[in-house]
Symmetry: C2
Subunit: 235 residues, 2 copies
DNA sequence: CGCTACATTGACAGCGTTCAAGGTAAGTGG
DNA sequence: CCACTTACCTTGAACGCTGTCAATGTAGCG
């Protein structure tokens, strides 16, 4: 039944999450959702586990139920670029190539739905809403990458961090200006923003000294001056 | 007739251009090509002209026949990021949103095919090859953006330039190691690579002094040591 | 020839990286 | 409960790359 298929902690997002990717089920009838369920399986990961590695065959599309994951790309010489952080409701693995061009690493304990990619795509030919939704999700992912590209090309360290904060605030379920849980390490932030861990640390210290943010705990961020942070983050 | 529809200077690429986007017509029958032609129109631009601006309604998909264009994104504060350079055979304007998230500026005199986007997409529902090809093209565009993201996040100025050179060598029709025409200005390169024009100039001078490249003319590049350039460019 | 746009070069400052040391927090075992 | 370990984070100092500002050079064009 479709009411079982969509777990409680995702359901309430439907109305709220305009920016999140949780839209695969959007506008679909219960009958359609039942069909969709036939492609679905569930899986889980522990913190640090790789869901899949770079160049693995792209057999599945995943939907994060709970937890946080990082999309990474590692080059020949070992340098790592984090392409994004994904949260509950987000999709990953949507691709047209036969292999994933990136790896996915869990930052926390993570539960995911797992769809057979080919079956999902075949199904999309029959269910127009599903196809529209997949296109819509791809489009959002693409736009996020463009934002990140702009940030890496044009922004200073402290601006990049503000960009990350605003992204977390918008996309991380449960994040509020006075409490944003940072599930990633400083190194993950650095690799996402194209900086070193030291620069991240120093820039955080600067933003803190300037009264824009605070850290009630090491991994809990408080945004004190959201107007300024938002301005610095601006794309 | 489909033999008219695909102009001579594109036709020969079909077999060769594994990395170029000129694949919309791939595997299609003459009947299918005739149908495709019904969506097509032709247009041209002068150097410096904008084909369309950021946030314009995304009414058309374009295919470059001749010339070079730059995809750009400008932010609120005026900083510009070039998202890519496109050459004959390349597509642009493939999107799922109602508006373009970027502007397209001609670097040279440019001729393009122009497809009504909605009609093209409707047609894609009927012609399976066309739909596959559109997906294939989108996938390549996405991968190029990921490469660029990595470059901006991890590489030094001279490495970024080598990356650009290798891209031009692979994607610009007619480019050979001993002769790569640079249709873009130094400023365009800078905005593409997330650098300033001065840094571009200095890094070019350094690469020249090291004997990796030469400039027979200001806008003609010669790659003297392709092994090293390729190594520096490596993603 | 002189105008204009584009490119190069120089001097200098500043931001970010690198290398190194020290600090903090959580978990383990005595 | 406390020392010890480990992983992560912060801070410091020096260096170097890149940005900024300014001047000069160069190619194309009327």
């Amino acid at each position: 039944m479709s009411t079982i298929f969509i777990p409680k902690h995702i359901r309430p997002m439907h109305g709220r999450l305009a920016y999140n990717d949780c839209a695969l089920f959007h506008d679909m009838t219960n009958v359609e959702l039942d069909t969709l369920e036939s492609c679905a399986d569930q899986t889980k990961c522990n913190a640090g586990d790789y869901l899949f590695r770079q160049n693995a065959p792209s057999d599945h599309v995943y939907n994060v139920i709970s937890g946080t994951v990082a999309i990474e790309r590692v080059s020949n010489n070992g340098r790592r670029q984090v392409l994004g952080f994904l949260f509950p409701g987000d999709f990953l693995g949507i691709t047209n190539s036969a292999h994933y061009d990136y790896a996915v690493r869990s930052l926390t304990k993570t539960e995911l739905y797992k769809f057979n990619r080919k079956r999902l795509y075949t199904l999309a030919d029959e269910l127009p809403h599903l196809k529209t939704n997949i296109a819509e999700i791809s489009s959002r992912i693409f736009n996020r990458i463009l934002d990140q590209l702009y940030i890496l090309g044009q922004k200073k360290a402290h601006e990049r961090l503000c960009f990350l904060f605003m992204q977390l605030l918008e996309r991380l379920p449960g994040a509020r200006p006075d409490r944003v849980e940072l599930y990633m390490t400083r190194q993950d932030m650095a690799d996402y923003l194209g900086l070193t861990i030291e620069t991240v640390s120093r820039s955080l210290a600067k933003l803190k000294a300037d009264g824009l943010i605070a850290f009630p705990q090491l991994n809990v961020l408080q945004i004190l001056d959201i107007a300024k942070v938002s301005e610095l983050a601006d794309t």
